[in-house]
């Protein structure tokens, strides 16, 4: 065999060199470090539909469908998730049912996609596409007890169509289109005994059509039509063999319909006769029990028993402050009294699902809060429980370091590290690693999580954001820092501000509530007499360290909070320099406003300010549509204004908190990828000064298509879009430098301080900016982007990218540096500039989430810790993931792995050696002298 040519060796060598050079870039973690600083929690969201599955053998489980579009199978005893699927938002799952005790059948996308999932492991068994009109509400019905065939049929009814699909392989067994004009199928019912299907359809608004179909073939056996005096809303229940109960259009009366052979007879019952004080929407809940129906309204659940066709009587009604899941389908035939069953089931459901905080799957906004300061007089022994334990732990660690530990001991070390009591304490730590993550959920619940292990410290469902009896659904808007006590009011607890709206409409009056961030108690609650359209936290703080907020209403009036004379005097001083802007996506306009003292309200309100439009940028809507608007995070800290480049040259960054990045897309480029030709789609990126409306920079990317994601930090913007010509995603970077300061290069002047670099800057001086930009190919589609924030802004930045695979990728800012060139000079290499490549590398070690997935990832936030090198990263979607990142490694502290025991032993050994050698040399010297 001939020896391999030497070139191979060279290639291997080059490979090693490349790998070694990349290894220096990566800041990954080892396998045993997983879970030390990070935690991952799985959620499913608020359950909207649950199906119980109780096999005689095996574990009891429930299959649920949630508002986050998750199908999950849960253990009824422990609440564990057996399996879970997050379905895309574009494919909303409406219906869920079980078939044969083996499959969970879901109907999604308005009845057009039918899927069957295997119950034990959650694998998809089959999928069938059905052609239905999307406008109608689809119905899913699974035939039970089909004794004739072994196969259960799944019935899907939507509009005029009814499909019967085999539940084993998803083949359409038969389909039937009702030819009657304007008919809409409202209910599919099955007679308990024979294989006859009742299909209730409404034509027009008052004509009830009842079809009887053969369940096996789909042939129409019987067709009865009856006109009703009042309109029907379409909800109907087959209560007994031949009695239908239907709600009328106003949902205030019930029709009891009896089917006798060829004819229909009916009777109308007013609900107000049965149930007192009706409120909210009345619903019929299907209960598979003879002669009993359940009637749900907003606050009560009533069980009604049918007394022939003549009337109903109330058996029981329950006051239910908490809403029951919209429908509880009980597949089993209940022989018990239904009320008991419902209670049992409800309790069962609640007691188990309480383990899972369903709100955490629908997080709106996140802020952090410091923990209380540790009280004096807590000794080390107290903290560590036992000095002996502490010592034992360190000895174990030492063994691990010296590779003397056995497998059991290694496991013990790992367990010790994972449940270190240090990280879960409820007090502030020196490095700022322990914090409270305060999250606001869609339902208006505020929950505080500990960064150590993600446990819930407190949660508060705000009363002001709870559904009121008037039927309005309040919505939470945002959560802000209200008071972060420092020196003067150190003894007070920090507090947070939650702003909401008392209705879904944007003109609904807003609500405000201030919470103590240590306990979650509501300190103050306020109902505005104006609406909330924008909330602008200001940089100002009043004497009690409360941050000033401007709340803009739908009439473009600004309201100042907190309402205190101190705040108003402070604000009036700063008012001439305060501006706000609105990015109106619908009208395609960006407007800038200034504030004026007077407020044209009927009463005198000194906390209200009218606004004046200063500037506007109107984009031609036939060419550009606003796609994204991004600005720097308000709490971002920038360390320096100078950027040192190769050969000791300086560039001055254009640092302005008022810089707004806006990207617009051509109207055709906003659609799906592939819907537009490269010639007719483009992206225009703008850098706008929000005070003056000046466009500092504008760049057009031809052949680019949305969706656009952007992140702004310091003096740069990174944005992500699709390049139609290259058929790849691209990531572009714009860095903006201040050219007017560029001549500040005289060393003597700088030494003597004779420069204008630290003079306050105003946006009204015309800035001369220099812009550098570059773009790169990027493999992934992106869901969201963020950037790491550190306490002082010294540490280099990483761009956190939420990928389509629901993972978080931390990409060094060095990769998206517009100064990269193909052949960097020696000095540029020394500076750390990477050679230019056409695409950004994705190295598996860049994944912050390592092997985990944050299902339905929606947001990433980065919060600085007190240690400059380290930052907290919290990622939320349906799942939660938290970790700590050190973009430039932990250069300012020893790692957790550092073995103090080894250090102590080394020091002790050295001291012993010194003493021993000293004594020895003394003795030797003495004996030498005697010789």
């Amino acid at each position: 065999m001939a020896p391999p040519p030497p070139r191979h060796l060279l290639l291997i060598l080059l490979g090693f060199v490349a790998a070694a050079s990349l290894a220096t870039l990566a800041a990954a973690m080892y396998e045993d470090q997983v879970g030390l600083a990070d935690w991952h929690q799985k959620y499913i969201g608020k359950v909207k539909h649950a199906v119980y599955h109780s096999q005689k053998s095996g574990r009891r489980r429930v299959v649920v469908l949630t508002e986050e579009n998750v199908i999950a199978s849960l253990d009824l005893r422990s609440g564990d998730i057996f399996w879970r699927h997050v379905i895309d938002k574009n494919d909303p799952v409406d219906q869920l049912s079980l078939s044969l005790g083996k499959y969970a059948v879901t109907l999604s996308s308005g009845g057009s996609i039918l899927r069957a999932w295997s119950l034990p492991d959650g694998q998809m068994v089959w999928e069938t596409n059905l052609e239905v009109s999307k406008l109608s509400k689809p119905l899913l019905h699974i035939l039970s007890n089909n004794k004739v065939a072994k196969d259960n049929l799944v019935l899907v009814a939507a509009g005029r169509w009814i499909y019967a699909v085999s539940s084993i392989d998803g083949v359409i067994a038969w389909e039937k289109e009702f030819s009657l004009d304007g008919i809409e199928i409202k209910q599919v019912l099955q007679s308990p005994e024979n294989d006859i299907l009742f299909v209730v359809g409404i034509a027009g608004s008052s004509k009830l059509n009842l079809y009887q179909l053969n369940a096996k073939t789909g042939e129409v056996v019987k067709h009865i039509q009856e006109s009703f005096p009042g309109a029907l809303c379409g909800e109907a229940l087959l209560v007994s063999r031949n009695v239908l109960v239907a709600l009328d259009e106003t949902r205030s009366g019930l029709f009891l319909i009896e089917i006798k052979g060829e004819s229909i007879s009916y009777n109308k019952v007013h609900l107000s006769d049965l149930v007192q004080d009706l409120s909210g929407t009345v619903k019929l809940l299907p209960l598979m029990s003879n002669g009993v129906i359940a009637l749900q309204e907003s606050s009560t659940l009533s069980l009604l028993k049918l007394k022939g066709i003549d009337g109903l009587e109330v058996i029981q009604s329950f006051e239910q402050p908490a809403a029951l899941s919209e429908a509880l389908t009980i597949t089993e035939k209940m022989k018990l009294l239904p009320l008991c069953t419902i209670w049992v089931l409800k309790l069962n459901l609640l007691s188990n699902l309480q383990v899972i905080e369903d709100g955490l799957a629908s997080i709106l906004d996140v802020i952090t809060s410091e923990l209380p300061v540790e009280k004096d007089g807590v000794s080390v022994a107290n903290v560590e429980h036992n000095l002996f334990e502490w010592l034992k732990g360190h000895v174990l660690k030492l063994k691990g370091t010296l590779m003397l530990a056995s497998a059991d001991e290694l496991a013990a070390i790992q367990a010790l590290r994972l449940k270190s009591s240090e990280k879960n304490k409820m007090t502030r730590d020196h490095n700022g690693f322990r914090k409270l993550l305060i999250v606001l959920t869609k339902a208006g619940k505020v929950i505080a999580l500990h960064t150590g292990d993600g446990r819930i410290i407190w949660s508060n469902l705000l009363p002001s954001l709870r559904t009121s009896k008037f039927g309005e659904i309040p919505s939470a808007l945002g959560i802000y820092q209200w008071q972060v006590p420092h020196h003067r009011v150190m003894r007070e607890n920090p507090s947070i501000l939650v702003v909401g709206r008392s209705g879904t409409d944007s003109s609904a009056p807003g609500v405000l509530s201030v919470l103590d961030s240590y306990s979650g108690e509501e300190l103050n609650s306020l109902r505005f007499d104006h609406s909330v359209v924008q909330i602008i936290p200001l940089t100002l703080k009043d004497s009690s360290e409360q941050r000033l907020h401007l709340i803009v209403d739908s009439h473009s009036r600004a309201h100042l909070y907190p309402r205190s004379p101190d705040a108003i005097s402070l604000f009036l001083h700063e008012m001439p320099n305060t501006y706000f802007y609105t990015v109106d996506i619908e009208k395609n306009v960006i407007r800038g406003h200034s504030l004026q003292k007077s407020c044209y309200l009927s009463f005198d309100d000194e906390y209200c300010f009218s606004t004046k439009e200063l500037w506007s940028i109107i984009f031609p809507s036939d060419a550009e549509r606003i796609a994204v608007s991004e600005t720097q995070k308000m709490n971002e800290v920038v360390h320096t204004q100078a950027k040192i480049i190769a050969d000791q040259d300086v560039m001055y960054k254009y640092l302005s908190k008022n810089l707004v990045f806006v990207a617009t897309l051509s109207p055709k480029a906003t659609g799906e990828i592939g819907s537009a030709a490269p010639e007719e789609s483009w992206l225009v990126a703008y850098l706008i000064d929000a005070v003056t409306g000046r466009i500092l920079h504008r760049v057009t990317h031809h052949g680019a298509q949305g969706p656009v994601h952007a992140v702004v930090s310091e003096n740069w913007v990174v944005y992500h879009y699709f390049n139609l010509r290259a058929h790849r995603f691209e990531m572009a970077v714009i860095e903006i430098y201040d050219q007017s300061r560029a001549d500040n290069k005289d060393v003597m002047k700088l030494i003597l301080g004779k420069h204008n670099l630290s003079a306050p800057i105003t946006s009204y001086t015309r800035p001369e900016v220099m812009v550098k930009s570059q773009s790169y190919f990027f493999t992934h589609s992106v869901k969201t982007m963020a950037v790491t924030q550190t306490a002082k802004g010294i540490t280099s930045k990483q761009i956190l990218i939420g990928t389509i695979g629901d993972q978080v990728l931390a990409l060094d800012k060095r990769f998206v540096d517009p100064r990269r060139s193909v052949n960097p000079t020696q000095q540029e290499k020394e500076e750390g500039l990477l050679p230019l490549t056409d695409s950004l590398p994705i190295i598996p070690m860049f994944y912050v989430t390592h092997s985990l997935q944050v299902e339905a990832l929606r947001g990433i936030i980065s919060i600085p810790s007190r240690l400059e090198s380290t930052t907290h990263v919290f990622t939320y979607g349906v799942d939660l993931f938290y970790t700590r990142l050190a973009p430039s490694r932990t250069y300012d502290s020893l790692t957790d792995e550092f073995s103090y025991a080894l250090l102590l032993i080394t020091i002790a050994a050295l001291v012993a050696a010194i003493i021993f050698t000293w004594i020895w040399s003394e003795k030797k010297e003495l004996s030498d002298k005697w010789r």
């Binding site: 808007l477 945002g478 944007s506 909330v532 359209v533 924008q534 909330i535 602008i536 936290p537 200001l538 940089t539 401007l550 803009v552 700063e574 320099n577 305060t578 501006y579 706000f580 802007y581 609105t582 990015v583 109106d584 996506i585 800038g592 608007s629 600005t631 308000m634 920038v638 360390h639 320096t640 204004q641 100078a642 040192i644 000791q648 040259d649 300086v650 960054k653 640092l655 302005s656 908190k657 008022n658 707004v660 929000a690 005070v691 500040n744 290069k745 005289d746 060393v747 700088l750 030494i751 670099l757 630290s758 003079a759 306050p760 800057i761 105003t762 946006s763 009204y764 020394e830």
Partner: protein, 265 residues
Amino acid sequence: MTVRGAGAKAMGGGRGATGARVEVRGLGGARSRGGTRGGARARETWALIQLYPGLDLPSPSSRESKAPQAKIRSQRRRRSIPLPRPPAMEKGKGLARRWAVELYDASSSSSHSSVPDPPGFTRSGPDADDAAGARQRKDSETAWKAQKAWEVAQAPFKNLMMMGFMMWMAGSTVHLFSIGITFSALWQPISALRSVGKVFEPFKDPRVDTLAPKLVFIALNLAAMGLGVFKLNTLGLLPTNASDWVSSLAPAQEVEYAGGGIPLH
């Protein structure tokens, strides 16, 4: 050529010569300058042997030709006439040891005890013109001191060259070696300048002008220091660029503040 080598050679020669006793004696307790002198003397002996290639020390026939020379040397030593330093002498060489090589003539040493001096030979003969010898000795000592001072003054020059070479070898990137060299290049001249008085103390003489050598010494050391500073600058450790003064300059404060964004709907 080292002192030790010279001594060993001389000893080897002595061992070979039955008549001549070569004594190599370590005088101990080194003072550097004396040591140099001792070493010089040994080297001179060696030079002597080298000078006469025909001189065959081991053979008894060459005894006569070597004897007078050795005798003159021994007399010189006794009168402690300072020997002219060989030109190849280097400062600092042989600092640790002080060597003295005494070559006794077998005939002269034996004449002390048993063999009488030949007729007409007076042992105290050369001591007759003592006054003239003392003057001459004094002159030569002054000359030696002046020469020595100049040599000491010029010594940093060689150091300078060596330092320059090492700096060139160290390169311009900051690492342990280059930093070490740079700081030693800075420290050596400073310590030398601090001890400039001490260095020239042995040559203190009213008749010797040490000012010029001192100035040369200082100038050379300053040049060495300059070289060190230059190296420091090439390493980029001197704040001579604008970047060194603005690298941690905080961003300027902004007068205006604008908030807002996409309205909440």
